[in-house]
C-alpha cells in the first residue's frame, strides 16, 4: 500500500497545528516520522486514520483520494494506528482483547472460544512470540502488550501500521524482538510508519525519514544518505551544538550514602555513595529494580531495611515527607502519573512541594507564592501563558521543567532523577541537562536513573549498574562506555 499526504492543514481553535504538512509512504518500507514534540507527527497520523478531519489537503491511498471518517474505516482499509498509550483492557485476557468487538460467534451470539483461541495462536506464532492467549493483559510486560497490539493489527490484515514511540517503555531485549517483528513485517510487504525520539533506533531500523517542524513538512531523506546531525538540524532548524553541555562542577565530599539497602524480592544489599556536585548515573535494564531503589530511598516503598546517611549522619525516610525534610528531592519517572497534577495550573504544581516556604502558620502568602512561581517560570524557561497555565496543555519538555521547578526550590541536598528526559524533545532535553549541571555546580548530589545509554554516558561522573536487584558495579567516567555497561547490565563480567 502506498500513501501520499499533501498540503495538510489543521488548526484547533485558531491554533494552526499543521501547515502544509505531508509525507509519502512506500509499499513495504519502514518510514520514520520525526520532529520535536508539537511538530505535528501524531496529528498528521490522526488525520490519516480518521481521528481528526483535515482542514485542507489531499490524502491518496494507492492513488485514490480517501477521507476516513473514523479509525474503524481506516482499519477496514488496512491502516492501523498503535498509540503510545496502549489501547488495552488490563483485566481482560489476551484473547478477549484481540477479539474485542469482533468476537467469532456461534448461533445465539455465543462466543466460539475454540475458534478464537486457534486464531490467536496462529497470529502469535506468525509474530514468533510466546504468549498464552488466556493470560490477563496486566500479567504481561509492556513489551508483550505491544506485541498484542501488533497482533491485533495483523488480525485485521493491516497493510500499514503506524507506531507511536513503541519502544518508550520496552527493555533492550524486548526492543530487539520488536525490531525483528517489524523487519519481518516489512519483508511481507507491510509498510510501517515509525514515530520515535530515539535517533539510534531510527538509524538502525528505518529506510527513510520524514521530518516535520512546527507543523510543516521539512524534508524526506534516505537513512543511508543522512546522519544524526543532519536530522537534528532539520528538526530544530538550527545547529544544536554539543548534545551534552559541559559541566564545571567541583566534586566535593561524600554527601549521601546508602548502606545495605534491601527490599526482599526486589533488590538486595545496595550500597553506594554520592559526592557533592557529582552526577551518579544509574543504568540497567528495564525491571532491574532501579526505580524501586530510588523509591525506597525516598521512603515510598514498604519493607525496606538498610541505612541511609546524609553528611555522615544517619537519617530515616519512613515516608516522602521525612525524605523531603531530610533534604532529598525526587523527580519520578512518570510525570503524568506521579510528577504532576495535570489538570492543575503550573502555580499549584510548583507550590505543592513548597507549601512551607510560601506560607506562615498555614496561611498562604500570595506574594511569596507569585514570586516563587514567577522565578520558576523565568529561571527554567517554561513556555506558557502564565502561572495559571494548565499543565495538561504544556509540551512534555515544559511539563518536565515544571516538575524540576517544583523540586529545585525545596533546596534539596540530594536530588534523585528518574528518567529525567523521557518523552522530551531534543531542544528541551539540552535545557534540562543544563539545569542538572547548574544544580551540580551548586553542590547538589545528583542521582540520575536513565535507560538512554548515551544520556547516562554524556551526563554522569560515575555510572552505577544494577541487574535484577543487585548492584553490579560502579564505573568511573574513564571506564564507563556502552559496552561495559551492557556487559554488567546483562550479567557478564568485566575483564580486569
Amino acid at each position: 500500500m502506498q500513501i501520499e499526504m499533501r498540503g495538510i492543514d489543521k488548526s484547533f481553535g485558531g491554533n494552526a497545528v499543521l501547515k502544509s504538512a505531508g509525507f509519502l509512504l512506500d509499499h513495504g518500507e519502514i518510514h520514520a516520522l520525526m520532529g520535536e514534540n508539537g511538530a505535528g507527527k501524531s496529528t498528521l497520523m490522526k488525520i490519516l486514520t480518521g481521528v481528526y478531519t483535515k482542514d485542507a489537503g489531499t490524502v491518496l491511498v494507492d492513488g485514490q483520494e480517501v477521507c476516513y471518517k473514523n479509525p474503524q474505516e481506516a482499519e477496514q482499509a488496512g491502516i492501523v494506528f498503535i498509540h503510545q498509550e496502549l489501547n488495552v483492557l488490563f483485566d481482560l485476557t489476551v484473547e478477549e482483547n484481540m477479539f474485542l468487538g469482533k468476537e467469532i460467534k456461534k448461533s445465539f451470539g455465543i462466543c466460539d472460544k475454540k475458534a478464537m483461541r486457534h486464531e490467536v495462536r496462529k497470529i502469535l506464532d506468525r509474530l514468533g512470540v510466546d504468549i498464552d492467549p488466556g493470560q490477563r493483559m496486566n500479567e504481561l510486560s509492556v513489551g508483550q502488550q505491544q506485541m498484542i497490539e501488533i497482533a491485533k493489527a495483523l488480525m485485521v490484515d493491516a497493510q500499514v501500521i503506524i507506531m507511536d514511540e513503541p519502544t518508550a517503555a520496552l527493555t533492550q531485549s524486548e526492543t530487539t524482538v520488536l525490531f525483528q517483528v517489524v523487519n519481518s513485517l516489512r519483508e511481507k510487504g507491510v509498510s510501517i510508519v515509525y514515530i520515535s525520539h530515539r535517533m539510534e533506533e531510527i538509524f538502525e531500523l528505518c529506510d527513510r525519514i520524514t521530518i516535520l517542524r512546527d507543523g510543516s513538512y521539512i524534508g524526506t531523506k534516505k537513512i543511508k544518505e543522512t546522519d544524526m546531525n543532519d536530522v537534528v538540524k532539520m528538526m530544530i532548524g538550527r545547529e544544536i551544538g554539543e548534545r551534552y553541555p559541559a559541566r564545571e562542577a567541583k566534586i566535593g565530599e561524600v554527601v549521601f550514602e546508602v548502606k545495605g539497602l534491601t527490599c526482599p524480592g526486589v533488590f538486595e544489599n545496595v550500597s553506594f555513595q554520592v559526592h557533592a556536585g557529582e552526577v551518579l548515573g544509574v543504568s540497567g535494564l528495564m525491571g532491574a529494580g532501579r526505580t524501586e531503589i530510588m523509591q525506597a530511598i525516598f521512603g515510598n516503598m514498604p519493607n525496606v531495611s538498610g541505612e541511609i546517611y546524609l553528611n555522615g549522619a544517619r537519617i530515616q525516610n519512613k515516608n516522602p515527607q521525612e525524605a523531603m525534610k531530610n533534604g532529598i528531592g525526587f523527580i519520578t519517572e512518570d510525570r503524568k502519573v506521579e510528577g504532576l497534577m495535570l489538570e492543575e495550573s503550573i502555580m499549584k504544581n510548583i507550590s505543592i512541594a513548597n507549601l512551607g516556604k510560601i506560607s506562615k502558620s498555614g496561611i498562604l502568602s500570595k506574594e511569596s507564592e507569585d514570586a516563587l512561581v514567577k522565578r520558576g517560570i523565568e529561571e527554567l524557561h517554561i513556555k506558557c501563558f502564565g502561572p495559571q497555565h494548565e499543565c495538561n496543555n504544556l509540551s512534555g519538555g515544559n511539563q518536565q521543567k515544571v516538575v524540576f521547578a517544583k523540586w529545585i526550590y525545596t533546596d534539596p541536598k540530594v536530588l534523585i532523577l528518574d528518567e529525567p528526559t523521557r518523552g522530551v524533545d531534543i531542544g528541551a532535553k539540552k535545557e534540562i541537562y543544563s539545569i542538572i549541571n547548574e544544580l551540580a555546580e551548586k553542590g547538589v548530589a545528583i542521582i540520575m536513573v536513565s535507560s538512554e545509554l548515551p544520556e547516562v554516558l554524556g551526563m554522569s561522573d560515575r555510572v552505577m549498574v544494577v541487574r535484577e536487584g543487585v548492584l553490579r558495579g560502579i564505573l568511573h567516567k574513564e571506564e564507563a562506555n556502552q559496552e561495559n555497561i551492557m556487559i554488567l547490565a546483562t550479567g557478564g563480567e568485566l575483564n580486569e
Partner: protein, 311 residues
C-alpha cells in the same frame, strides 16, 4: 484563547445563572415568594443542607464521598438531647456534640485511609451503623424534655437584627470554608489529594491525614446541622437527617465539583445549596405536589450539571 476564557467564564457562572433564572421565574409567578420574610426563611431552611454540603465538598474534593452525614446528624443530636435532658449545661452539650461529630467523621476517614475501603463503601457502612446506634440509643423514641434553655432556642430560632441566627452562622461558616480552601496550605493539600494523590504524596503531602481531616470536617458540619434542627424541633428524632446526604451531594454536584476530586469551588456549592432551597421553597409556594417536586428537582440538577460539563 480569549474565546475559551469567555466560555469558561460562562461555564463557571452556569449554576449562578440557573439560580437567578429560578428566582426570577418563581418570583414572577408568585408574589408570596418574592417577600423578604420568605427569602429569610428560605435561607434558614437552606442552612441545614448548607453546612452538610460544605463538609461534603471537602470530602469530595479529596476524591471521596461521605454517605454517613445523615446518620451522624441523627446520632449527634441524640447524644446532645440526652445530655441536655440529663441536666448538662446546654453549651457544653453542644460542644460535646460537635466533638462527637468530628470523632464519627474520623472513624469514616480511618476506614478509608488505614482500612483501605472505598469511600462509598466505608461511609455506607458507617451510615448504616450510626443509624442503627441511634435507634438503639434512643430505643426508637424521640427525646423531647429539653427544658427551656435560651441558648438552645437561640441557635435555631433566634434572630439578630431581624436575620435568623442559622443564616448568620451559615454565612460565617461559608466565609471560613472559603478562607480555608483558598488561602491555607491545608486547602491546597485537599485539592492536591483529589487531583493526583500519587503526585501529592511524593511532594510531601500527608494524604491520609488530609483525607481524615476532610471526613472529620464533614462529621462536624453534620453535627452543626443537627444542633440547629434540634433547636428548631425542640426534640431529637431517631429518623432525623435520613436522606440528607443526597441533598448535600446534589448541591455539590450542582456547583460543578468533580466527583473524582481535585476540582470545585466552595462558593459554587453555596449556589447549589441555594438552588435546591429555592426549588423546595418555591415549588411548595406554587402548590406543586411533592411527587412532582422531586421530578422537577431531578430535572433541574440534570440541566445544571450537563451545562456545567466541559464542552
Amino acid at each position: 484563547m480569549n474565546n475559551k476564557k469567555a466560555s469558561n467564564y460562562i461555564q463557571d457562572l452556569g449554576a449562578l445563572i440557573a439560580l437567578v433564572l429560578l428566582v426570577l421565574i418563581i418570583g414572577a409567578i408568585s408574589p408570596e415568594f418574592r417577600t423578604v420574610s420568605n427569602f429569610l426563611s428560605l435561607l434558614r431552611q437552606s442552612s441545614i443542607n448548607g453546612f452538610i454540603a460544605f463538609g461534603m465538598t471537602c470530602v469530595i474534593l479529596t476524591g471521596g464521598i461521605d454517605l454517613s452525614v445523615g446518620s451522624v446528624l441523627a446520632l449527634t443530636t441524640a447524644f446532645c438531647a440526652s445530655f441536655i435532658s440529663g441536666g448538662m449545661p446546654v453549651g457544653l452539650a453542644m460542644i460535646l456534640a460537635l466533638l462527637i461529630g468530628v470523632a464519627f467523621g474520623l472513624l469514616s476517614g480511618l476506614l478509608v485511609t488505614k482500612g483501605r475501603l472505598q469511600p462509598f463503601i466505608a461511609t455506607l457502612i458507617t451510615m448504616t451503623v450510626y443509624r442503627g446506634l441511634t435507634m438503639i440509643f434512643m430505643d426508637g423514641k424521640p427525646i423531647s424534655n429539653l427544658g427551656d434553655s435560651f441558648l438552645l432556642k437561640l441557635v435555631g430560632k433566634g434572630n439578630l437584627f431581624g436575620i435568623p441566627i442559622p443564616v448568620i452562622l451559615f454565612l460565617i461558616v461559608f466565609a471560613i470554608f472559603v478562607f480555608v480552601l483558598e488561602k491555607t496550605t491545608f486547602g491546597r493539600r485537599i485539592y492536591a489529594t483529589g487531583s493526583n494523590w500519587k503526585s501529592a504524596k511524593l511532594a510531601g503531602v500527608n494524604i491520609d491525614m488530609t483525607k481524615m481531616a476532610a471526613y472529620a470536617i464533614s462529621g462536624c458540619m453534620a453535627a452543626v446541622s443537627g444542633l440547629i434542627l434540634l433547636s428548631r424541633l425542640g426534640s431529637a428524632q431517631p429518623t432525623l437527617g435520613d436522606g440528607y446526604e443526597l441533598d448535600a451531594i446534589a448541591a455539590v454536584a450542582l456547583g460543578g465539583t468533580s466527583m473524582n476530586g481535585g476540582r470545585g469551588r466552595i462558593w459554587k456549592t453555596f449556589v447549589g445549596v441555594l438552588i435546591i432551597a429555592v426549588l423546595n421553597n418555591g415549588l411548595n409556594i406554587l402548590g406543586v405536589s411533592s411527587y412532582y417536586q422531586d421530578v422537577v428537582k431531578g430535572f433541574v440538577i440534570l440541566v445544571a450539571v450537563m451545562s456545567d460539563q466541559k464542552r
